[in-house]
Amino acid sequence: MPILRKPDPARRAAPMRLRGMLRKEARQIIRDPSSIAIAFVLPVLLLLLFGYGISLDAKHVPLGIVVESPSPEAAAFAGAFEQSAYLSPQRFGTIQEAELALITHRVDGIVWLRSDFEEKLLAGAEAPIGVIINGVDANTAHIIEGYVNGAWLSWLQHHAAAQGVEQTLPVQLQQRIWFNAELRSQNFLVPGLIAVIMTLIGALLTAMVVAREWERGTMEALMVTPVTAKEILLGKLLPYFMLGIGGLALSVGMAVWQFNVPLKGSLPILFISSSLFLIASLGMGLTISTVARNQFVAGQVAIIVTFLPAFMLSGFIFDINSMPRAIQIVTYLLPARYYVSILQTIFLAGNVWKVILLNSLALILFCAFFLGVARKRTVKRLD
């Protein structure tokens, strides 16, 4: 009688074991509301806070205007500033008062028309207009300088028109701003924020949860079951991946409807590249927790290596090209860097394949790396 070869029972049981792991993890998530809160409540809160709290659009900048001797010309000049939507001018009688206001931060800049302004203007000599700006916040100072410059240029035109001559500047600058014509900073900050928030959530979610299993000893309980290390990791990864995608969908919806960021590219491509990023950051969380094996250290490491680096080094707010070479190299080690680039492009510019594919490739490498390390460190052995 021929001996029937029995199929390997361990192999046949594999899908069943994975299903069991997934069911266990899903139940664990549902019964512990904290991970659902991390995945859904946290992104909404953070996006609202960041989206409104971070803005580089300086509006109603308090500006002191000093007119030492009132004259129609000086009044016309000061009028040019009052019309700007970006400046809110205040009049001061003397430069000393205005300087005191600058020192005590009541104004951010001063425009100073000396007593000989009209005299020089009428004589055809270039009348100097003093501009003093508080330079501590250099970026805002640059922006204020741009506003003052714009008000001055528009005054030049009006002044020439009032004199009945056409002021012809030799070269006129014609601006064409691509992708974000009105230069709303939210349009580039909010997509970048999604990357920062997803980094946090992905890593925090897995880092804390897995470290907790090690600490409570439930990981050891898992090890005596026939479940393989690969299945343990997959069982952890898949449910949190679904949670993360949910949080992501929520964030994208808020970016479009709450913050009115245009979404020029296609949604499926956004979700495919986002999945890659999510797997990379979940993998990072898994790696942290399997290496640390202790909630205290895992949590500290997760906060230190996720939030601040993603905030400062991903190009979400500080331009990477302006950083020194050595720091630029460090930014290549951050998954968030590639994702920020993808998000800003898909939201504002559309499906630019070269940008999307190159950055996605980098994300795939990160997925492979982190999952590989996590797999290697999750050995079914108790030390």
């Binding site: 953070l46 806070l49 409104y52 709290g53 803005s55 580089l56 659009d57 020192i103 005590t104 020089k120 270039e126 009348a127 100097p128 003093i132 330079g135 501590v136 250099a138 970026n139 100072a141 640059h142 300088e145 741009g146 003052v148 410059n149 001055w152 030049l156 020439a160 012809t168 030799p170 070269v171 006129q172 600058l173 014609q174 601006q175 064409r176 974000n180 230069l183 900073s185 349009n187 580039f188 907790r212 949590g299 500290q300 906060i303 230190i304 939030f307 601040l308 905030f311 400062m312 707010i317 500080f318 090209n321 302006s322 950083m323 800003q344 492009t345 504002l348 510019a349 630019v352 940008v355």
Partner: protein
């Protein structure tokens, strides 16, 4: 009382510093982050990659372009031949700026008419785009002035003479780097204090502490003072690095700086202990610390000005101790501020600190009952 406290401080310091992993977490990352972020955190543009599409063959356009080539801020990386090349160059982020000079540029200038220069800017990062346009405008303005001088176009009726106080070259690093003192001090003190009670609760040593003759306020002080000591030391090291490594000028009074630092430590430790006494597990403590830390950074004016926020969020910043400490840091470093000028920043931090400490003490006692 004093011997009690001394013993407690030594115990708490040991608890924080004896474990190699936690010692490492407290000391190494802040210093690495200071160096990395200190270099990374800049809004200043240098080496703006741009391309040129020059349809004009005249001398005037070459003269204008030469000014861009000689500027340190701009890096020309391509000459384009046609309009069709503009979009892909910008889409693929090869360049941030494309200067397009129309074919009638030199002819118009020679006739005394206005010629145009078209600047195409990648607006994906609106801040960068605005700064690039400002830089282009200033090159154009200086070209205009010298063109009018040389070719008799007359003079402008008035011109701007811009000066900036406190930071004459408008280096944005000078603005960001002093703020890192506040950022990292907050991170370190929160990590020390927010988890300290929860960790003892989980380990069961908190009960042992309770059966000792120590008064709850002594336990509180015993938890607070080591954090003050560690915070003071870390902040001092960071300040030294900022002054001697990053060469940010420190113009104001050290007294004002350290009064500010002490009050900031008081308030941030107060917040940390409050979180700690509310948390039952370490995970809750960590989540609490994190939920305080992230908004505290965003709503402090560290990276973007508070004045740009909506009115409601601006009000919310008033309960954030970091907001006040940043004004002190920047004031003392760059503006040469003295104690007298900083009172409006001192008292709110003191108030926040005292309220949080009292609350933490109350919660302590409440949990003990």
């Amino acid at each position: 009382m004093w011997t009690h406290l001394k013993a407690l401080i030594i115990k708490e310091l040991l608890a924080v510093l004896k474990d190699k992993k936690s010692r490492l977490v407290l000391i190494a990352p802040p210093l690495i982050q200071l160096i990395v972020f200190g270099y990374a955190a800049t809004y200043d543009l240098n080496h703006i990659r741009y391309a040129v599409l020059n349809e004009d063959r005249g001398a005037a356009s070459r003269e204008l372009l030469a000014r861009f080539e000689h500027s340190e801020t701009f890096d020309c990386i391509a000459q384009l031949d046609g309009d069709a090349q503009i979009a892909p160059e910008i889409d693929n982020k090869r360049v941030l700026l494309i200067l397009r000079i129309p074919s009638d540029f030199s002819r118009k200038l020679a006739l005394g008419q206005s010629a145009s220069l078209q600047a195409n800017v990648d607006g994906r990062n609106s801040n960068t785009a605005m700064l690039i346009l400002n830089d282009v405008q200033s090159v154009v303005s200086s070209f205009n002035t010298s063109w009018m001088n040389e070719h008799g176009g007359g003079t402008l009726p008035a011109r701007l003479a811009v000066r900036s106080w406190y930071n004459p070259n408008l280096v944005s690093r000078w603005f960001i780097v002093p703020g890192i003192v506040g950022l990292l001090t907050l991170l370190v003190t929160l990590l020390i204090t927010a988890l300290s009670v929860a960790r003892e609760r989980e380990a069961g040593t908190f009960d042992q502490l309770l059966v000792t003759p120590l008064h709850p306020s002594e336990i509180l002080l015993g938890k607070a003072l080591p954090a003050v000591i560690i915070g003071l030391m870390e902040a001092t090291v960071i300040i030294l690095i900022i002054v001697f490594w990053f060469k940010v000028p420190l113009l104001g009074s050290l007294l004002a700086l350290y009064i500010g630092l002490l009050l900031f430590l008081l308030s941030s430790i107060g917040v940390g202990l409050m979180i700690s006494s509310l948390a039952v597990t370490q995970q809750q403590g960590l989540l609490g610390a994190f939920l305080f830390f992230v908004p505290a950074i965003i709503l402090s004016g560290f990276s973007t000005p508070i004045a740009n926020m909506p009115a409601l969020l601006q009000k919310l910043t008033l309960i954030n101790p970091l907001r006040y400490f940043l004004v002190i840091l920047r004031g003392v470093f760059l503006e040469g501020a003295s104690v007298g000028l900083l009172w409006p920043q001192f008292w709110p931090m003191a108030l926040i600190g005292v309220i949080c400490m009292v609350m933490a003490g109350k919660l302590f006692r409440h949990r003990m009952a």
